[in-house]
């Protein structure tokens, strides 16, 4: 019976996902029809503005007609984009029929009725737009839950699920998203932006922007599992960015010692490898101080936290370099597999670290050292090596995070790059259910924690809360999340569930 429940979850998820995809496809088809019919193209923002937001139909009609007749469509950036036909059967056929009559209709002065009115009404488009925003994430979530349960083969134990901190993190995240959804019904909607080959939407943006913290969080989780903290990660982000930009612009043959910024003298791979190597070494330095000299992690990493930004300033002579080198832009702003590249990089790193930690005995050793260092040593575990690896890894991950950050701004910023990343990373680890006292840790929890933090930031920006108040607002929501996760609250909820299950079981007997 339990197994069946998993299957039902999976199938329901698939159905919902399919419905979402259908909505998504129909919207794409709709846009293509518009593009194909008039040779003008709309950016997604203006598409949403015209068709999706709360304009009444009359206003939409006027907007559309005005736009088409003026011949500009929308933004110049998208104007050159050649419209590409996608394979959405019903719509493409309709499009084909439409394109033939379109020029005539355009000259008649009523393009809106001809193109839009013939196969879909704006209200139904609006519904499709909003529905896909709900169907896609919900379907994906259900599918994921079903798959995880089936793969794990564990039976559902609601009490233990309620006791888990991760459950509460997920619930908090969903609550915040639901509030967003209520205020903006299309908050979840995702659309495809052909101009830069990637999906676009608030959810995607949240995950994209959380990449830096998630990547650092992978290392920080294990640092905290060992019972320590690493304060230097933010400074390493700055160091990594400074080194990358310095190398990218460095040209010893040029009298200015500097390239104009659209090419590099050194191979690009070196530009990436050197900052990463330096960050790795700085992580090793942390690890040596902690493992060998037995300094307290918070003190040991304070050294680089303070000096790291200074080092970054020295590297760049206090200058702020900018670059236009396009392979570098790809790291933070490009697309890969129709997604923003940082998401893909993060996914690869998260999966890689998870495999390393859980498919070898490394994770167990980290937990063991974090729980009881004495016992671990007497069982033959080399805690110094473990500490060294964990801190070096955290350094390396901070370096990667620094490259993504500097690629986003195409510049280095020794003062602000990675600012407060250490607190955000620690927070996401804690929200993810890993205790600050060390021991058991959860990498998946950290991913969720980091996404929660970014969701809150997005939420705050999104609702136009004044910039001065954002930090206070962020703190408020985080406080609520952490209270939800507090031991007594979870135990109370778990007990409630348990009692209910018992009562049910009793009734069944």
């Amino acid at each position: 019976m339990k197994k069946k429940l998993h299957l039902i979850l999976l199938i329901a998820g698939a159905v919902v996902l399919a419905a979402g995809l259908y909505c998504f496809a129909s919207i794409c088809g709709m846009k293509d029809a518009v593009y194909a019919g008039y040779g003008v193209s709309f950016s997604d923002a203006s598409f949403a503005k015209v068709f999706v937001n709360d304009h009444d139909e009359e206003a939409v009609r006027e907007d559309f007609n005005a736009a088409v007749l003026s011949g500009t469509g929308d933004s110049a950036a998208d104007g050159t984009e050649a419209p590409t036909g996608t394979e959405t059967p019903a719509e493409t056929e309709a499009t084909g029929a439409e394109t033939e009559t379109a020029p005539a209709a355009a000259s008649a002065g009523a393009p809106y009725d001809t193109v839009i009115g013939s196969f879909s009404r704006v209200s139904s488009l609006r519904t499709a737009w909003r529905l896909q925003g709900i169907f896609l994430p919900v379907g994906a979530l259900l599918c994921l839950a079903g798959l995880v349960l089936i793969l794990r083969g564990k039976h559902l134990d609601f009490a233990s699920i309620m006791r888990s901190k991760i459950t509460w993190a997920v619930i908090a995240e969903i609550l915040i998203l639901i509030v967003c959804l209520i205020i903006r019904p299309d908050f979840f909607s995702i659309s495809y932006q052909p101009s830069n080959h990637m999906l676009y939407g608030n959810l995607i943006d949240i995950i994209n922007r959380s990449a830096e913290i998630t990547i650092i969080g992978m290392g920080m989780t294990m640092v905290i599992a060992l019972g320590g903290t690493d304060l230097s990660v933010g400074a390493l982000v700055a160091v990594s960015g400074a080194l990358a930009l310095k190398l990218m612009r460095w040209d010893p043959t040029n009298p200015l010692y500097q390239t104009p910024g659209d090419y590099t003298v050194y191979p690009f791979i070196l530009v990436l490898a050197v900052p990463l190597l330096v960050c790795l070494l700085m992580g090793l330095f942390n690890g040596m101080l902690i493992g060998r000299l037995k300094l307290q992690p918070i003190i040991a990493t304070l050294i680089l936290m303070v000096s790291g930004r200074g080092i970054a300033q020295i590297v760049t002579n206090g200058k702020q370099y900018t670059t236009m080198y396009s392979p570098f832009r790809w790291i933070g702003q490009g697309s890969c597999l129709y997604l923003p590249t940082p998401i893909v990089i993060t996914a690869v790193i998260v999966v890689g670290v998870m495999l390393f930690v859980r498919k070898t005995a490394f994770g167990t050793f980290v937990e063991s050292v974090g729980i009881n260092a004495n016992s671990s040593r007497l069982s033959g575990i080399d805690s110094r090596a473990i500490i060294l690896i964990v801190f070096a890894l955290t350094g390396l991950l901070s370096g990667i995070s620094g490259l993504i950050y500097s690629s986003r701004i195409m510049s280095n910023d020794s003062n602000n790059a990675g600012l407060n990343y250490e607190t955000d990373a620690i927070l996401s680890v804690v929200i993810g259910g890993t205790s600050m006292t060390g021991g058991k840790f959860s990498l998946a929890g950290t991913v969720i924690g980091s996404i929660i933090i970014r969701t809150i930031v997005t939420f705050v920006y999104f609702f136009g809360i004044p910039a001065d108040a954002t930090m206070a607002f962020k703190a408020l929501i985080i406080a609520v999340v952490i209270v939800l996760q507090a031991e007594p609250v979870r135990v109370w909820m778990a007990k409630r569930t348990e009692r209910r299950a018992l009562a049910k079981g009793g009734a069944m007997k």
């Binding site: 005995a361 167990t364 050793f365 009881n372 016992s375 040593r377 033959g380 575990i381 021991g439 058991k440």
Partner: protein, 508 residues
């Protein structure tokens, strides 16, 4: 604070009545209809093996756990303690096995922390007075960590007693005390008893029960076996009642025969480290069980730690299986087939938050290195094998080791080392703080391993155990080997060892 009963201590009267207490944990019925009555002015021993339900019963009484059924009457009034703090205000004071005090505060501050008295002069004077009542003439303005465990124990009792309590619960108060200190504690207990306090006394030392208790209540598997006056049953009957089996059979253990021509497993020459170990030379044959006798601090544990590499020897040589080895850290020793069950199980043995499975596989995995992991199936197989072989009482291998009873934790640690298939197993106080049945099981396992060709070093404060199981006994004194006795041993051996320890004379 109501003080109604204090005056009526002459005739036996139940100060506390617990009736039909039931407590359900997930999967286990920890208490099943247990009755317990405590009179004012008596010392009442609460007995049972680990996991019998003693601690759970106490936790129900002190509000740590909440009972599922039953009634608790204090002075004839029903109470439902909600927390230890709440229980204290009702007059139920508890001294736990672990010392729950702040080592960096002074003795006086420790006694008065959480009370309404703040003035340093007053609390110092009061604390001094209180400690004198306990026949301890100590400087109460020194930090607690300055004093020995025994004094700390006394301070925690003083702290509990100072709160005007009717009932005092002592949970294993003597496990870290030496003989004199135990007598001191007993004197205090008698005084408190005379003052009309009801004392619940939990211990594993049967002698102490007969020395001080008035009555005893025995639990087994969460059920009440019975309440007896102290003269009613003898020690043997008591153990039989506790274990549910015959004691004669349990301890029917004999040393394993070692072949004359068996090869050497360990040869240590002139091992020494500054301070604890002066100069130790040992030789052990394959399958031999070598007992270490001696007082705490005589260098028993320290010698074991040198052999295992937990501390680095500054002088001497170690040969394992005829090969000279340099042991710098435990890992080196493990790679050479040495295993070590440390004395302090909680501090150095278990990894509390990890499961039984993970605890068992830890040393094997460390030996292999983390890049060559045991697969989950192999781990499960390993865990199941040892859970069965050592009859570890647990529903499954995924339970946290910290949630097991002391005896079962010890078995898991033993399993951890058995899984590495060692040639030399060092057991430092493996039977401390665990019940009679589990003690016997651990000794039996030890002897079985000897039979399989493992050499075992057995360190224990309980001389009977050492004498019962060992082929040879090394008597330690002041970091030196005072004597070495070769078996078979007889009833005279114990006094001989004591004599050696006391006098320092060379024997046989």
């Amino acid at each position: 604070m109501p003080e109604a009963v204090r005056t009526q201590t002459n005739e036996p009267q139940n100060i506390l009545e617990m009736r039909g207490i039931e407590m359900q944990f997930p999967g286990v019925k920890a208490l099943d209809g247990v009755d317990f009555f405590l009179r004012a002015g008596e010392i009442h021993a609460l007995l049972g093996e680990n996991g019998a339900g003693k601690s759970t019963l106490i936790k129900c009484l002190t509000g740590v756990n909440h009972k599922d059924a039953g009634t608790i009457l204090l002075d004839g009034k029903e109470i439902t303690p909600t927390s230890p703090q709440n229980a204290i205000t009702m007059g139920i004071a508890t001294v736990f096995q672990e010392i729950n005090l702040c080592p960096n505060l002074t003795v006086a501050e420790n006694i008065f922390v959480g009370r309404k008295e703040f003035k340093r002069k007053i609390i110092n004077a009061k604390a001094r007075e209180l400690m004198q009542r306990f026949h301890l003439d100590i400087d109460v303005t020194r930090p607690l960590s300055y004093y020995s465990t025994a004094v700390q124990q006394m301070v925690s009792i003083a702290r509990a007693v100072n709160i005007e309590s009717k009932i005092l619960i002592l949970d294993e108060p003597t496990s870290s005390l030496d003989e004199n200190e135990v007598q001191l504690l007993f004197a205090v207990m008698r005084e408190l008893k005379a003052a009309g306090m009801g004392i619940i006394f939990i211990t594993h030392f049967l002698d102490q029960i007969y020395a001080i208790s008035d009555r005893m209540t025995i639990l087994r598997n969460g059920r009440l076996v019975g309440t007896y006056d102290i003269g009613e049953i003898n020690k043997l009957q008591l153990v039989t009642l506790m274990v549910g089996k015959d004691m004669e059979n349990i301890f029917d253990l004999h040393p394993v025969q070692v072949a004359e021509d068996a090869p050497d497993t360990l040869k240590a020459e002139h091992l020494g480290a500054p301070g604890p170990v002066a100069d130790i030379s040992l030789e052990m044959k394959k399958g031999e069980l070598l007992g270490f006798a001696g007082l705490l601090g005589s260098g028993r544990t320290e010698t074991a730690e040198l052999i295992f590499g937990a501390n680095r020897p500054t002088s001497g040589k170690i040969e394992l299986k005829g090969k000279a080895v340099v042991v710098k850290k435990p890992f080196d020793a493990i790679m050479n087939g040495v295993a070590f069950c440390p004395e302090d199980r909680k501090r150095d043995g278990i990894v509390g938050d990890l499961s039984i499975r993970e605890n068992i596989m830890l040393a094997v995995q460390a030996k292999r290195g983390f890049l060559h992991p045991l697969s989950r199936a192999e781990q499960n197989e390993l865990a199941d094998k040892y859970i069965k072989a050592l009859s570890i009482a647990t529903p499954d291998a995924e339970k946290k080791i910290g949630e097991l009873s002391g005896g079962n934790q010890q078995k898991v640690i033993l399993a951890r080392w058995m899984a590495t298939q060692p040639d030399l197993l060092i057991l430092d106080e493996p039977t401390r703080g665990i019940d009679v049945g589990a003690k016997a099981e651990i000794q039996r396992l030890m002897l079985e391993m000897c039979g399989d060709g493992v050499s075992v070093i057995f360190i224990s404060s309980e001389m009977e155990e050492v004498i019962r199981c060992s082929n040879r006994i090394v008597v330690m004194r002041d970091g030196k080997k005072a004597a070495e006795l070769t078996g078979p041993f007889d009833s005279e051996t114990q006094s001989k060892i004591l004599q050696i320890i006391a006098e320092g004379g060379e024997a046989s």
